[in-house]
């Protein structure tokens, strides 16, 4: 965010005016779309095999093509899971993390075709369909993740930008702390009730709230807002006196409210970027367990 401070002197610019990095290449189109082409080719080849190879319509999974698809699918699932290992060991070059991610995304989408053809569209209430269902949950959550990665970062940047440039996460806390200190000072002359209202705002943890609050960005029991409302209610019928401490407190509370809203929007967007992984990753391991049970059960009752 060095640019933000450099540009502070120049006229404020709008968030949309940012210069994009020209060298950027999305993992979706990595290497000229190599991996989506490979995946599409694989998917079409498998669909063509499924259609044109004369095989029984029942128990398709136990035909030679069914076993082949199953083996490809199982190996693919294990390899896709290895992204979690790979991303912790960063290496450059041909098999860069971006290459891996690109392959992970496109081959993962291809797995819909591989896995579903392997079922032969024969689904039921059993461990086999459980594995397929978990696989689909993982893939769909991954698709949600990609969609969020495509949409949310822009919103995140836009939220952090204002007339004074971008604000970092650390600066958000600092701003709140500063406002709290000012509020504390300004509220000293207040009577007990009003002081207690300001105190309730100060005592509120800006990071409080459960997952639901985070994901929706709605905090119905926000003490700062309650304090602002209560102070204004009490002030509404009193004569205005210039320089009254309540005016300053009210202005400070309004500013704090604005800062808090922005931070909560930031938290909401960030939590969206993370939440899909809380489905994607644990269900992957459930899937590997179900896959193991599926394979063992097939050979157990061979």
């Amino acid at each position: 965010m060095a640019t933000a401070s450099e540009d502070a002197a120049s006229p404020p610019r709008r968030a949309t005016g940012r210069v994009r990095q020209t060298g950027h290449e999305s993992f979706l189109t990595y290497a000229g779309g190599r991996w989506w082409k490979i995946s599409a080719l694989l998917a079409f080849a498998l669909i063509a095999l499924y259609i044109f190879v004369p095989l029984p319509r029942q128990h398709f999974g136990s035909s030679w093509l069914g076993y082949t698809l199953g083996t490809i699918g199982a190996l693919l699932i294990l390899w896709l899971t290895l992204l979690g290992v790979r991303k912790r060991a960063i290496t450059p070059g041909r098999w860069s993390l971006k290459a891996w991610t690109s392959a992970h995304v496109w081959l993962g989408l291809c797995l819909v075709v591989v896995g579903t053809l392997h079922t032969g569209f024969d689904l039921g209430w059993n461990v086999h369909t459980l594995a397929w269902t978990l696989m689909m949950i993982v893939i769909v959550s991954g698709m949600v993740g990609i969609a969020l990665y495509a949409a949310v970062p822009q919103a995140l940047s836009a939220n952090r930008f204002d007339a004074e440039g971008a604000i970092t996460e650390k600066q958000m806390i600092e701003a709140l702390r500063s406002l709290d200190r000012q509020l504390h000072e300004a509220a000293q002359p207040l009577d007990r009730e009003n002081a207690a209202l300001v105190e309730s705002s100060l005592a509120e943890d800006p990071f409080a709230g459960n997952v639901w609050n985070r994901l929706t960005g709605r905090y119905p029991r926000c003490a700062t807002r309650a304090a602002t409302v209560a102070l204004r209610e009490g002030r509404a019928f009193r004569p205005r006196v210039a320089g009254a401490p309540l005016d300053k407190v009210d202005a400070l509370l309004t500013r704090k409210q604005g800062m808090l809203d922005r931070m909560r929007r930031h938290l909401k967007l960030k939590s969206w970027l993370q939440a899909w992984l809380y489905v994607h990753v644990p269900v992957t391991f459930a899937l590997i367990a179900a896959l193991s049970a599926h394979i063992v059960s097939v050979f157990f009752y061979w």
């Binding site: 259609i51 930031h266 644990p282």
Partner: protein, 637 residues
Amino acid sequence: MSFLVRQIALKSDGSEIVRAATVEGAELTIGRDSSCGIHLPDLAVDPRHAVVRRLGDERLTIESIGEQPFELNGRSATRGEIELSAGAELGFGGHRIQVSRDSETGFPDFAVRRVEAVSESAGEHDLGSVYTLKGLLPGKRMSAWTFAILVLVAFLAFPVWSYLTYQPLALHKDARRPAGWHADMAWSSGHLSDAHAKLGGDCQACHVDAFVAVRDNACMTCHTDDAHQHIADRPGQTAVERLTLARGTPTGFAGLQRSVALLFNRPPGRCVECHTEHTGAGAMPATRQKFCTDCHAGMKTRLPDTTIGDAADFGTNHPEFRPAIVVDPAPEQPVLRRVAWTPALRENDGLKFTHKDHLSKTNGVAQMVLRRPRVYRGEGSLDCKDCHKLDSTGVRYEPVAMEKACQTCHSLTFDQVDGTFRTLPHGKPAQVVADLRAFYREGGPPRPANLSGLARRKPGDAAMQASAADYARAVRFYPTRSEQAIAAVFSKGGMCYDCHVVTRTGATATGGFAVENVAQNGRYYHSGWFSHKDHTRSDCVACHTKAPTSNDATDLLVPGMDGPGGCRTCHVGESGTHLASVKVRDPVDSGCAMCHAFHMDNGPPWEPASRRKRKAHIAEADRTPRRPGLPSQMALR
């Protein structure tokens, strides 16, 4: 009277800054207001919160000014006393005040410290995690392990436990698991067929050993009697050996598949290779043609001692039909023999019949039909169904009954008494003979008039004697007329002889005549299945083409495979194949299972009600739209 107030603040390096002040007076107020002796800039503290007074030299009292309490030695209070020598701790909002006696001056000493941050946001925040969902959701690692273990326990460990629990029951026909749910049912890939539905949750009825593919001994636990003798054991060769021999050694891709199957412990020749299960509730699906032709296509070369002809596909490669025809209509057990069908094949069922004459639209038969509109619905000629009636199953025809089919024209009436007709009994030659003899014996010949007392007399007895002699001769010879009638009935031109083969080898009771037995053949094809019900839309003569031209009952009117009216006129192979020489107008795809079934008896093959109504004939396995209807069949055609 003074109080010593020391405000202690912490520097960022941890050291303390102490600002000491002495407050004169008998009282010391504590509050947020800057005029207070102890000024606490704390919003949780009242502007004037409490007041401290000296009570003698050793003691202090502290009392709330408003109703707001404070903390005295950790407990909430609105008033209290403090022993200076013992000291005390006061708490106001985010501040702590240590009360003691100053050792130098002897004044009460109040050490004031801020212990809580001004606001919650001022506290320490770990920037690395505070903006994430950490702590709000169960950790990914934690839930990954939990889910994985739950799945493994529920769908792997628990089913294996079920298997181990009931393993001793395996291969016992009547030992079944208790009804209800068992964990390994979660492994079932689909419902069992109706025939095996009663096995229900007893997986081990078939899956006897872990990691061992289902073997025939599991099937034979129950199917001790009714397992089909598809291939019989022969001396020195078991059925399975013959079966594998008949299949031959697969080559190419099939050989690869076989070796992979062997690698994974799936030997060939097991019952379940054809009889697939877990394909959904309903009838077991018909076996696909491939499973038949794997062996039967070119089997002679691999199994030279077989008596069965090679068959690869009905449309192109199928042995000629071998109808079972009557060669001797013996009374008790007619002799049937299976011979290859030819257009010139003849069958002797003991009857004489002229299909051509009876189906004619112009001859006497047609005239008779025309004159009897109440019997024949006013039509101009006989129809097949006037004589041939379908049986109750609709599959085959009932034997033609003389009384119903023939007698309406070919009457056996011989006498009329006051408007009532007397009829010879059909099928009972001895009764016929007896009836005729009785007919001619009744009453005797009329007595000549000149034998009566009223006769005009000629001189001499000679005339009377002549009359008496005539009469006596008539009486004597009266029965001879019955014998003539009997002979006439049984001989050429007589009622019986028209339709039956009559010989003179009979007993006295039948006047020396014998009627040869009639054996109507109800079913010609015993290895294959045919149902007239499925062919009701076709005209009879579309298949029985010779019927309108045959005037000899020994002509075999049953169609064969080829030729006019043969099955191949409509039926083509499972994938639509047919010989180039055959012209098929409306092809019907016909796999092996359309006509061939195991457990075949005289009744129609067992079918579930849902299928019985259907006219479609293609094997169930290829009909079920489980695999979305994709043009694999068309592609191969």
